[in-house]
Each structure stands twice: as structure tokens, then as C-alpha cells.
């Protein structure tokens, strides 16, 4: 795997959200995220794609900058669309990510954990400095502990097998 310094960000921010299929490929320099998910070696023809399910992929999905950034962006969207209504937020998150509503049991579980995570952030001293940095101005009234908790729920959603695998 490569150092971050080997992959400087493109200067044009519009380039940042392009789909990977349009990305310029250097033959000896596979994109780290692609390589993690079994991109074939680009210097030989590939007759058969491989598919592995291994820990470095989980590390990328649980910890990488990209996934965490998207989780926060998802949390911001939910807060903007559903405001204080946590139950509505969970409902909306499930619809957006999985194209279905959560079952009552699932909703209950999510709300229970959201409460737990929020409590952890309330107890955590670092909380005041974190969420306030990434929430947009329009959401400055939201409790940082709640925003952090919601972002972590979104992170969990991106790791759901139902989200990752096509049924």
C-alpha cells in the first residue's frame, strides 16, 4: 500500500467526485482503494477478476479518510433533511442507503445505539472541538455529541453487508 504523499489531491475540486472509472491509470501505480478491492494488475491482461474478502478491505471501510468523510457528509444531509427527529433520521438513512425502511426492531436498535454513542461523546472531553469543525454553519445549533454519533451510525451503514453487496 502506498503513502498518502504518493497520491496528492487533484488541484481542481470538481475532479474529486468523479467516478473511479474515469480516473487516469498509471500502469505501475494502482489506486490504493482499487488495489485493496482486487483491482487486477494493470501491466498484464486480466482473464478473470478475483474477489477476496480480507481484513485490509475492512480497515479501509472502517477507518479510511474517504469513508469517514462520506459518513460525515451523510450525517450532515440527514440533519438537514430531518432536523431533530432522530427516528425520522434513521428512517431516511435506511431509505437512502438501502432503498427500504428499517423494521421496527432495526429502528429501535439504531436509536438505542445512537443514544449510547451520543452519551459517549457527551462524556468525552474532545467533543466540543470536533463536530463544530465539520458541521456547516446552518447546523451550528446541533449538539456536537449528537452529530458525531450520527456520523458514526452512517459509518456503520456504509459497512452493512446489505449496503456493500448487491442482492
Amino acid at each position: 500500500m502506498l503513502e498518502k504523499s504518493q497520491w496528492p489531491d487533484s488541484l481542481d475540486p470538481q475532479e474529486h467526485t468523479r467516478r473511479g472509472v474515469y480516473v487516469y491509470v498509471k500502469r505501475s501505480f494502482t489506486l490504493p482503494m482499487f488495489k485493496t478491492f482486487d483491482a487486477p494488475d494493470s501491466s498484464l491482461s486480466c482473464e478473470r477478476r478475483q474477489s477476496t474478502t480480507v481484513a485490509p478491505q475492512s480497515l479501509a471501510l472502517l477507518n479510511s479518510e474517504f469513508v469517514h468523510r462520506q459518513a460525515r457528509a451523510f450525517a450532515v444531509r440527514l440533519l438537514q433533511e430531518t432536523g431533530d427527529d432522530l427516528s425520522g433520521g434513521v428512517e431516511r438513512a435506511w431509505l437512502l442507503a438501502l432503498s427500504r425502511s428499517p423494521t421496527e426492531e432495526e429502528k429501535r436498535k439504531n436509536l438505542e445505539y445512537l443514544g449510547k454513542l451520543e452519551q459517549r461523546w457527551v462524556a468525552h472531553e474532545g467533543q466540543k472541538e470536533t463536530a463544530t469543525k465539520w458541521l456547516p454553519d446552518s447546523l451550528k445549533g446541533v449538539s456536537p455529541a449528537r452529530a458525531e454519533a450520527l456520523a458514526k451510525l452512517c459509518l456503520a451503514i456504509f459497512n452493512l453487508n446489505e449496503f456493500l453487496y448487491v442482492d
Binding site: M1, T30, L44, T52, T130
Partner: protein
């Protein structure tokens, strides 16, 4: 009622109507069809197709025959150290210093070098001096006077050769047996063949001391093998392994809770999709990832090592600390079940002022390597750990550059893949011996020639793998690390006293 629950009702009854499309195809299509295919492919020897990768591609596997070595530490001297200054004494060079190479050597086959026309460059005597060490009397230069204390454990192969005379292809060739990109590196083959002994760490790890690797990441890549077999670079800055720490902060205890919630959902999902082994594999890989987060910092934290151990590896000295730390980490990796470790040390590319260059580089690695050998031996680990030393090629006995060329130097050496030295120790090897020989000036391997394929065959043998049986079906044939070579397998000679 949501679509999901409607779906649930329709798809959970008994009988053929009770199956979802996925379940139906898996049981009645993929089920029998796949079984038959696996059977056929196994018969054809295409076992990699029959093995579901998603189950656990790095589960420990039995070797083909009892192994001498369980782990490998490859000390990669990047840039290409000169054999005539280190492990291949050539007294004639000192006598003929400044003169052209002897006609008997020039008239042989044409020799392509990067910058140098062999017939127009004068011979260059090394400043380093050789003497005999240990009971065996193995000759080693004063550049490696510390390593030389373990002379009786070293098997020096003085007749290595190949034909890639620039760095990138040379590194690729030493690693994968092919100078082009795309073929799996030796470490990837070994993990493919033997699996991993470590639950929480990658089986193939790579460290880089100074500079970078000419071949880049493909040098330790998996090529056409599944990506899981590629080497993992231990990074010098930030978290040692990419993504081993979360990009944004978790409150204390929060990450575990997020994972618990995730598992709760995934287990429910799994209950409805029992036929898909990938889903269960993904759940367990999340748990492994969680454990890796603590295993990696634990590995790289050497504060628990004794002062005498740190000193043994040269951690108390600025010149030896960077490579010494990597050697110490390598020992810690072997202790934790890592199978294949490469430590690169860049800087040996001495086109000018070879004496100074090699003195500096040898100073940086000699004590740490000696420390590694001593430490492994003291801990009873050397018998089962194969240590390999060498570059991507050696260097010329003549000075670098052509006559009248601007890049000509009178004290440097050019790349030389036609004859160079590597050594091995541990892993069952009975040392104190030199195998093969170069010609009188140390240019070409002439006796008992050992190609890279032969080196690879030897290393695999010591690990209990038959290089002709370790295959992967790709592009129409069973590919091997050793391609169609590897006939000069040294293993049986190396393990004899």
C-alpha cells in the same frame, strides 16, 4: 409494510417457491454446476479456482515436504552492492589496478552495461580488505567486519547472475523472477503457498530504509495472484499500516459499539443469506481489522526491548539506527508469525566514489545485520528463520563510464548483473561456505552458476515448497515463480554441514 418485509414473507416458505432468486440460483444452478466445475478443475490441477477465496485465502497450509525455515527476512541492498568490495575477494584486481580487463575475459561474450564499455574502462581495485573469519575461514571484507563474526553461519553464493542491468527491472527480477511488471513477488508466492501464521498481522511485510524502491509497489506486489498476497508496506510516518487508525476520532469505547451495532445488523442479514459465504467472511474480517488496530502499534513499539538488545541492533547510534530499527522490527514480526519480511536499504548505487559510498552504506547495515543474526541465534529463532542478503545486482570490477564520456568516473562502478554475491543464513543452512565463483576479476559468474530462478527454487525448498508444484493457473498455463528454470536448487547442499 415495507418492500423488505413483503419480500421476506414471499421468500421464506418451504419448497421451490420459498426461495429467493439468489437462493434458487445458488442451490440449483451454482450449487450442482459449481460442484462439478470444482471437481473438474481440481482434476486438471486448477485448485486455485476450486478454492473459494472468500473463506480464508491466508489460512495456514501444509508445505509439500517438511520445512527447514518457517520465516524469511530478506535484506535487500537496493542500488546493487559491489561483490568485489564485500563478499567476493579478487586479489588480481589489486595487482591489475588501472589496467584494462584481461583479454581472456574481454573476448568472451558481449557484455551490456548501463554506462560502461567494458573494453575501454580500467580495472578498479577496492579499498576494502579481505580476511578469513571463523572456523571455516570464509573470506569477507572489512566493510562487513561485524557480520563476519557470524561467518560460520553464512553461505555466500558468489555466482549469482541474471540479465537485467538497470534498477527497476533488476528489483522486479529478484522479487518475481521476471523483469517485467505483473508477476507475483516471492513473498506473495510464499504466502500463497503456506498461508499466514499471524492472526492479526499481514503475512508479508515490507520496510524501506532511506529513499524508495525503484520498482515501486509492484516490487512487492501480488501480480496475477489475488491481492491479499501482496506485501504490506510498514510506513515510516503516520500509522505504520494504512488505515490501521480511524481517520476521524472515536470517543473512548465508541468504535467497539459501532462494530457491535454493525454486527447485529450483519448477523440478521446473514440469517437470510446463508448461501453466501462472503457475507460471513466480511463479518469476521471486520473483527480481524479491529484486532489489527491494536496489533500494529504493539508490533512497532520497541520500548519494551532491553537496552542491550537495542544496542545490539545499533539503535544507540545515528548511523545504524534506521536500518537497525527495521531489523529489530523484523525479529518482532517473526515472533508474531509474519511469514515473509523484506527490508530495503537504498543507496548502494555507487557510480562514483565506490569506496566512500560502500563504507557509508556498510556502516549503516553491518552492525544491525550482525545484531539480527546474533539475536535470532540467542533466541533459538535462527534455525527456523532464513536471512537473505543481496542487491538487485552487483557492480563492475572496472570503473564506471566510457572513455571520453562525461559521466565517466575513475572511482565508481557500474551495474553488473552477470556475476554477483548474495548470502543466506539460518533456516537450516549450515554456514561457513562459499558456493560458486566469478572469473578472475569478479565480472561474470563462471562456476556453479546460480540464476535468480535457482535462488528462488532454493528459498522455496527451504520453506518446504517444491518450486515446480507451487503453481497458479493464469493466461493458459500453470505459472511458477521459477518459470521453467530453477534446476540448480542449492537447498540440499546448503543444509549439509
Amino acid at each position: 409494510m415495507s418492500d423488505y418485509r413483503l419480500n421476506d414473507l414471499v421468500c421464506t416458505g418451504e419448497g421451490p417457491w420459498g426461495h429467493s432468486r439468489r437462493q434458487f440460483l445458488a442451490r440449483f444452478g451454482g450449487g450442482f454446476g459449481a460442484l462439478a466445475a470444482v471437481h473438474l478443475l481440481n482434476q486438471e490441477g486448477f485448485t486455485t479456482f476450486g478454492q473459494p477465496l472468500s473463506v480464508n485465502p491466508t489460512a495456514p497450509k501444509s508445505p509439500h515436504f517438511p520445512a527447514k525455515a518457517k520465516a524469511v527476512i530478506h535484506l535487500f541492498m537496493h542500488g546493487g552492492p559491489s561483490q568485489v568490495d564485500t563478499f567476493d575477494p579478487k586479489p588480481l584486481l589489486s595487482r591489475l589496478h588501472g589496467q584494462p580487463a584481461p583479454p581472456s575475459i574481454l573476448k568472451e561474450q558481449k557484455t551490456f552495461l548501463q554506462f560502461t564499455k567494458l573494453s575501454e574502462a580500467p580495472l578498479l581495485a577496492p579499498r576494502a580488505t579481505f580476511r578469513k573469519y571463523g572456523n571455516s575461514g570464509l573470506e569477507i571484507s572489512n566493510l562487513f567486519e561485524n557480520v563476519a563474526q557470524s561467518a560460520d553461519d553464512l553461505a555466500v553464493i558468489r555466482s549469482c547472475y541474471h540479465d537485467a542491468f538497470t534498477h527497476g527491472p533488476g528489483v522486479q527480477l529478484i522479487n518475481s523472477g521476471v523483469f517485467r511488471l505483473g508477476h507475483p513477488s516471492m513473498g506473495a508466492w510464499v504466502v500463497y503457498g503456506l498461508g499466514s501464521e499471524s492472526e492479526n498481522l499481514p503475512a508479508y511485510m515490507v520496510m524501506v530504509t532511506d529513499g524508495s524502491i525503484s520498482a515501486g509497489a509492484p516490487g512487492y506486489g501480488a501480480g496475477f495472484l489475488p491481492a491479499i498476497y501482496q506485501g504490506t508496506l510498514l510506513r515510516k510516518k503516520g500509522t505504520p499500516i494504512l488505515n490501521a487508525r480511524a481517520a476521524t476520532e472515536f470517543a473512548p469505547g465508541e468504535q467497539r459499539e459501532v462494530l457491535d451495532l454493525l454486527n447485529w445488523h450483519n448477523q440478521k442479514h446473514l440469517a437470510d443469506h446463508r448461501d453466501n459465504s462472503e457475507l460471513a467472511a466480511r463479518i469476521s474480517s471486520h473483527e480481524l481489522a479491529f484486532r489489527m488496530q491494536t496489533a500494529v502499534p504493539e508490533l512497532t513499539d520497541v520500548s519494551g526491548e532491553s537496552e542491550s538488545t537495542k544496542k545490539l541492533y545499533g539503535l544507540d547510534n545515528e548511523a545504524t539506527e534506521p536500518f537497525g530499527r527495521n531489523c529489530l522490527l523484523a525479529r518482532r514480526m517473526v515472533e508474531r508469525g509474519v511469514r515473509f519480511i523484506q527490508i530495503y536499504k537504498d543507496g548502494w548505487d555507487a557510480h562514483a566514489n565506490c569506496d566512500e559510498n560502500h563504507a557509508k552504506n556498510a556502516r549503516a547495515v553491518d552492525k544491525p545485520i550482525a545484531g539480527l543474526l546474533t539475536d535470532l541465534k540467542q533466541r533459538g529463532m535462527l534455525e527456523s528463520t532464513l536471512v537473505i542478503w543481496g542487491g538487485e545486482f552487483g557492480r563492475t570490477p572496472v570503473t564506471d563510464g566510457q572513455a571520453n564520456s562525461e559521466i565517466r568516473t575513475n572511482d565508481g562502478r557500474d551495474h553488473n548483473p552477470y556475476g554477483f554475491s548474495m548470502w543466506m543464513a539460518g533456516g537450516g543452512i549450515r554456514g561457513g561456505k562459499a558456493i560458486g565463483a566469478t572469473d578472475d576479476i569478479g565480472l561474470r559468474a563462471v562456476e556453479d552458476k546460480v540464476h535468480v530462478h535457482d535462488l528462488h527454487a532454493t528459498i522455496l525448498s527451504l520453506l518446504g515448497l517444491d518450486h515446480t508444484q507451487l503453481t497458479y493457473f493464469f493466461q493458459g498455463r500453470n505459472q511458477r515463480l521459477t518459470d521453467v528454470g530453477g534446476d540448480n536448487n542449492l537447498a540440499s547442499r546448503l543444509i549439509r554441514a
